[in-house]
């Protein structure tokens, strides 16, 4: 099966806040029975972006989301979601935000389309039923009883219910945890369809590949603190990791006939020469000048590898349980 992207004619929802910020969090603290689990979080989610809270289990992702959804009152800090204080105005918020919890059930013995239709009746401006079924690829299962759906289908039904009120913002708490690769892939396709609607999406995950594939921006949350925020690339760079430049070691260099380039910390490991740098362009210029000087041509196998999110993430969370 291939990824399906569904596009519809309806224009993206208008920006809810004048400054283009859907979620605004400043100094967010949360304590349970004297133990502080969130130690002053700061981040923004911009309208129309997919923002991912990435972190290991127990980092505080779900607690953060529950505060933003208005289910928990924070111990300190300021939270605004679509311009509302979630703890004070949960009902108004839930008309404009779709919530997919990590785990919650469906009524027994109802059919897919029936349930979506019921959900549509809860909202002032619901999206059409057919469209919702298409977005989550459940059109063929519309008359199936919910209890007969697979785990992945149930998750996509979750998405359809959360989307039924045509919300400006959608919260997804660990949308694919415990799924097989095929189910994950279809969930991702559904989330990308949501993004196509211009919806702001705030999702949590402990899967790197999920964050990398879906998110415009990522915040790495660890032990109740945000370690880094930015695009996938920014997070990797700010994690202190350098870009890797490598090329096939020229035989003249290997045999010691020519000196290594000045000002570059080059490691010659057999057939491959590698250096790491934060200043890619300058290093490349130096390398190529050195190569020209010693008649090495354009350097065979020259490769520039951007730092990967995975490296940053593993570096930050190494030693954490889970």
């Amino acid at each position: 099966m291939t990824d399906t992207r569904v596009t519809f004619e309806r224009p993206p929802a208008p920006a809810p806040a004048a400054d283009g910020t859907a979620v605004h969090v400043r100094g967010l603290r949360m304590s349970f029975g004297g133990t502080e689990v969130l130690h002053g979080l700061n981040f923004e989610v911009r309208c129309g972006e997919v923002f991912c809270l990435l972190g290991p289990n127990g980092a505080g992702k779900t607690t953060t989301l529950e505060i933003l959804e208005g289910f928990r009152v924070p111990s300190g800090g300021r939270v605004r979601v679509l311009g509302l204080d979630p703890a004070a105005q949960p009902a108004r918020l839930r008309e404009r935000a779709g919530i997919v919890l990590q785990e919650c059930g469906f009524p027994r013995r109802v059919r897919v389309a029936e349930l979506i239709d019921l959900w549509r009746s809860y909202y002032p401006n619901p999206r059409p039923l057919g469209e919702l079924l298409d977005v989550v690829e459940l059109a063929e299962a519309r008359n199936t009883q919910v209890r007969r759906l697979s785990g992945g289908q149930r998750r996509r039904l979750d998405f359809a219910l959360a989307l039924s009120g045509d919300p400006e913002l959608i919260f997804l708490d660990e949308p694919t945890t415990g799924f097989d690769p095929e189910a994950r892939r279809r969930c991702w396709a559904a989330i990308e369809n949501l993004r196509g609607f211009g919806k702001t999406i705030l999702l949590t995950t402990h899967y790197l590949d999920e964050a990398e594939r879906l998110a415009d921006r990522i915040a790495i949350l660890r032990a109740g603190r945000i370690e880094l925020v930015g695009t996938t690339h920014e997070v990797a760079v700010r994690g202190g990791l350098a870009t890797r430049i490598s090329f096939t070691t020229p035989s003249a260099l290997r045999r010691g006939h020519i000196p290594p380039p000045d000002g570059i910390d080059l490691t010659i490991s057999g057939p491959e020469s590698v250096c790491h740098t934060a200043h890619v362009a300058m290093t490349l210029r130096l390398l190529l000048a050195w190569a020209t000087e010693h008649r090495l041509g354009d350097l065979d196998g020259l490769a520039v590898t951007a730092p990967r999110l995975e490296d940053t993430y593993l570096q930050l969370t190494s030693g954490d349980p889970g």
Binding site: F106, P107, R108, E114, A162
Partner: protein, 251 residues
């Protein structure tokens, strides 16, 4: 307000639809009181209450009416809400702007529909099979008693749902918490007697006998059960207060 009512009606319609979709569950809910009505009723045909001209069946049939109200309102609603909570359906409802009143109103309305159907069924079959019907002019009082009983046991059903900790135990807990009381209240046996005095006083505290007596009064002339009305009102208030106090959206 009208939005809340409209949403409650929608909810009730879907509840009824899924209730009847679960054929064996729906049939059993109806078959259990019906079986008791026909089997025990047959054993009482031709007998009279000791020392009176009151036919056993005219006391027995309204007793089974009370029993079926309790099954529909207390057992069904109580275990239903416990399962909804355990399955995380209530938690999901809270993620929507649906007013809590509309949701619970829908569940209650569906319960009223089930209770109405089942009592109509029992009343009709009791009348056809045993000739036991309400006294002339008592139909309204009977309806009032059924409404009061449904409200009271629905409140108690919501209350017990908060005590039930798992979906598996929902049905057994709901049944086990009232069947013994129903038996010693004489619901299944019009001539039931011989309880020790202290146990009779305990039985008089519970609302099962109170509802049975209230309904029996519409079938056979008995002393006006003022205390039964007070009893049901108190249990309704207590059940409602406990249900509100202990209500949780998640397990």
């Amino acid at each position: 307000m009208s939005r809340t009512v409209r949403l409650a009606v929608r909810q009730a319609v879907l509840e009824q639809r899924s209730f009847w979709r679960s054929t064996e569950y729906a049939l059993f809910t109806f078959a259990f009181p019906l079986m008791i009505l026909l089997l025990i009723g047959a054993a009482n045909v031709g007998s009279h209450l000791p020392g009176t001209h009151i036919k056993n069946t005219t006391v027995f049939v309204p007793g089974i009416l009370a029993f079926s109200v309790i099954v529909a309102a207390y057992v069904n609603l109580g275990s239903k809400v416990a399962v909804l909570r355990h399955d995380g359906v209530l938690k999901r409802i809270r993620t929507t702007p649906l007013p809590a009143g509309a949701y619970l109103g829908g569940l209650l309305a569906s319960t009223v529909v089930t209770a109405t159907l089942i009592t109509a069924c029992i009343g009709l079959i009791g009348w056809l099979a045993f000739g036991a019907g309400p006294r002339t002019g008592e139909l309204l009082a009977l309806a009032g008693g059924l409404v009061l009983g449904t409200v009271c046991f629905a409140a108690l059903g919501l209350a017990i749902s908060s005590v039930i900790t798992s979906a598996e135990s929902a049905g057994p807990v709901a049944y086990a918490s009232f069947l013994p009381i129903a038996i010693i209240s004489g619901v299944f046996d019009p001539t039931f007697s011989g309880l020790p005095a202290w146990l009779s006083r305990v039985v008089a505290i519970f609302p099962v006998k109170a509802l049975a007596e209230l309904l029996q009064n519409s079938y056979a002339v008995r002393p006006f059960p003022a205390w039964d009305l007070v009893n049901l009102a108190l249990w309704t208030a207590a059940g409602g207060a406990f249900a509100v106090w202990r209500f949780r959206w998640h397990s």
